[in-house]
């Protein structure tokens, strides 16, 4: 999977993309199909979408997809995360523009779903559609989760890993991959992510209206509370569909990349009206 750094005000942002490798100063080459921008969860990075990008590349439809690491995450620069979902959205919009991914479908995982919603809320004409997964958890950040991460940043607790975020059917190898994805970003960035998600969620409860086509995708093994939160999001979107994918939980992009790719392409190619 080609990778490249795109610099914003001197800050390197790592981008993974489908298609051929291009020169450092050139954007990825777009196919004739839909543009897809993947937005990662709190404390993770774009590598969580690696299998999804591969799946999209091999699907018919010539889709072009990219995933990037937000500042302070994965292999992007800065020791600090951006302080708010709004700031993350602004960075994502800048990056999509820089990579010439006009009017993309946004695939949001966890906190990435909040970024996608914020993008659709503030600049709906820039967005072709939303595919949101693991969104329920991002809307349910607890005081306990934030306090635990604060202890991690102070060296008073080990970095937590919740195995229930992976479906038990997924197997130990996938569990290990999920764990490894969770240790590649500085816990200080994760703490800011959680606080930013929490702040945005409080705002979301006021009920923003999202008009773009939206697919809410849940893993069947996600806790009921998270699934209920996801349905809340669906209710706030006037053109939302809700899908459940068997054998997956919160780490759906890792667990079922093919199924998620199918949902994305379904949104990109709505059935023709007879």
């Amino acid at each position: 999977m080609p990778e490249k750094y795109v610099h914003r005000d001197g800050l390197p942002l790592l981008v993974r993309h489908t298609g051929q490798t291009t020169l450092p100063q050139d954007p990825p080459v777009r196919g004739s199909g839909p543009a897809i921008v993947c937005l990662h969860d709190a404390g993770l990075q774009g590598s969580v979408f690696k299998d999804l990008l591969t799946a999209l590349e091999h699907e018919e439809g010539h889709a072009s997809a990219l995933a990037f690491d937000l500042p302070g995450h994965g292999r992007s620069g800065s020791l600090d995360s951006l302080p708010s979902v709004e700031a993350m959205t602004e960075t994502a919009r800048w990056l999509a523009d820089r990579c010439r991914f006009e009017r993309p479908i946004l695939v949001g995982h966890g906190m990435g779903a909040l970024i996608a919603l914020e993008w659709a809320r503030t600049a709906a004409d820039e967005v072709a559609g939303l595919v949101l997964c693991g969104a329920g958890l991002a809307l349910a950040i607890t005081d306990e989760a934030i306090e635990t991460m604060r202890k991690v940043t102070r060296g008073k607790a080990p970095r937590p890993f919740d195995p229930s975020r992976v479906c038990p059917d997924s197997g130990p190898d996938l569990m290990r991959r999920a764990y490894m994805e969770g240790i590649q970003t500085d816990p200080r960035a994760t703490l800011v992510d959680l606080e930013a998600s929490r702040a945005w969620s409080d705002h979301f409860d006021a009920g923003p209206s999202i008009g773009v086509a939206t697919a809410i995708v849940c893993g069947s093994a996600e806790p009921e509370m998270c699934q209920e939160r996801a349905r809340t999001i669906a209710r706030s979107c006037s053109r939302a569909t809700h899908r459940e994918i068997q054998g997956a939980a919160h780490f759906l992009p890792l667990e079922k990349p093919q199924a998620l790719a199918a949902e994305i392409l379904r949104l990109a190619r709505p059935p023709e009206v007879a």
Partner: protein, 389 residues
């Protein structure tokens, strides 16, 4: 140079640069070295064509080591030194450069280091103990890691002298206080003794905050003759004394409390004609808090077994009896695997002056000491004493 002190003071450090970022995932270690070389040469008022001696090391260089650096920088130096004795290498490189300059083997030496340890997710402290030497076969199978070799020494110090975790914690607290004054430090939020004691136990008795951080980073140092340095852009910082040594298991049961710093420190002080009481500021390799405490004892800043009392309650803080690591050290500012070059750079910065809140007032003589390897097993020591011209 010899250890008689007569050849001390003929060589100087004329340029320095420390890579500012602690996180450089888009760079290679060679890119970092290249950028540092450019900036250090600019600091000195020299160009790459002036350099005829090249010194470099890091943890990931290939078998050709410094030759690859020469190619990367498109240099053809007439003197090469790729000595790698662990984290102390760059302190030793200054001594080697001084010897080469005094014997006419080169005129301007460029010492380089670059590392992407953090962005490569390098697990330094939990690596197997003893490296790949034959003796490791008697250690590694029993689970000894790098951090546990230091922990073993800390536990021994506690057993022999009654040193406490609180005293070790005070080293981390002072160092973090210094880092809070350094805008480039990776960890800048002040901590308390209690914070250290409540942080996770990594290898008993060392807690997480007793351990150095892992960062990306790099640096460059320019060494030349004092005569030439006087014509350059920065005030020369004179090399007054140097020393090197090793310590190991001695095919038996060594005294864990006597480390390489004892021998290298005695050499350096003898060459400089100085005593520990003459030192205004010290930069001491702080891979772990115990490293600082034991190094201070072995360099003669306090008596054997009195390190705990020496460091506690801000003893090594700014305004304390001996300010140590005013840049925030490896415990809080940066540690990219081999920290020796930063010890030299901060010592030079302190002697040049003008560092604001973290400046040691009136600093005239500085000591830098690097430790490389495994404190409880085999390790190297390199000591450097620097002074104003």
């Amino acid at each position: 140079m010899t250890a008689d002190g007569k050849s001390s003071g003929r060589v100087a450090i004329a340029g320095i640069h420390e890579y500012e970022s602690r996180w450089a995932p888009d760079k290679t270690s060679f890119q970092i070295m290249g950028e540092c070389a450019r900036e250090a040469l600019a600091d000195a008022g020299l160009s790459l064509s002036d350099v005829d001696g090249l010194f470099a090391a890091n943890m990931t260089m290939g078998a050709m080591g410094v030759v690859g650096v020469a190619e990367y920088l498109n240099m053809k130096p007439r003197y090469l030194d790729g000595t790698n004795i662990g984290g102390s290498s760059f302190v030793a490189h200054v001594a080697h450069a001084a010897a080469a300059i005094q014997t006419g083997r080169c005129e301007v030496a460029l010492i380089l280091y670059g590392s992407t340890a953090a962005s490569d997710a390098m697990a330094i402290g939990t690596g197997g103990g003893g490296g790949r030497d034959p003796g490791a076969a008697f250690v590694s199978p029993y689970g000894m890691t790098l951090v546990s070799s230091y922990a073993m020494v800390a536990r021994r110090h506690m057993h022999e002298f009654g040193t406490t975790s609180e005293q070790l914690a005070d080293i981390a607290v002072s160092t973090r206080q210094h880092a809070s004054l350094n805008p480039h430090a990776k960890m800048r939020e002040p901590i308390t003794r209690q914070d250290v004691l409540e942080s996770r136990l990594i290898a008993d008795p060392l807690h997480l905050l007793d351990c150095c951080i892992i960062s990306d980073g790099g640096g460059a140092v320019i060494v030349t003759s004092l005569e030439r340095a006087r014509d350059l852009r920065q005030p020369p910082i004179v090399v007054r004394g140097t020393g090197e040594s090793v310590a190991h298991r001695e095919i038996g049961a060594p005294d864990l409390m006597t480390i390489a710093a004892k021998q290298s420190g005695e050499q350096a002080f003898a060459m400089a004609g100085l005593e520990p009481t003459d030192i205004d500021v010290a930069t001491i390799y702080d891979s772990f808090t115990i490293t600082v405490l034991l190094t201070l004892e072995n360099l003669g800043f306090c008596k054997r077994g009195e390190g705990g009392a020496f460091v506690e309650n801000g003893g090594i803080g700014l305004g304390g009896r001996l300010p140590v690591n005013p840049d925030g050290g490896g415990l809080s500012s940066n540690h990219s695997g081999m920290r020796g070059i930063f010890l030299v750079i901060e010592a030079v910065r302190q002697l040049r002056g003008g560092l604001g809140a973290r400046q040691v007032e009136g600093a005239e003589i500085a000591l830098a000491h690097g430790t490389g390897g495994y404190l409880g097993l085999m390790h190297s020591g390199a000591t450097l004493i620097l002074g104003k011209d």
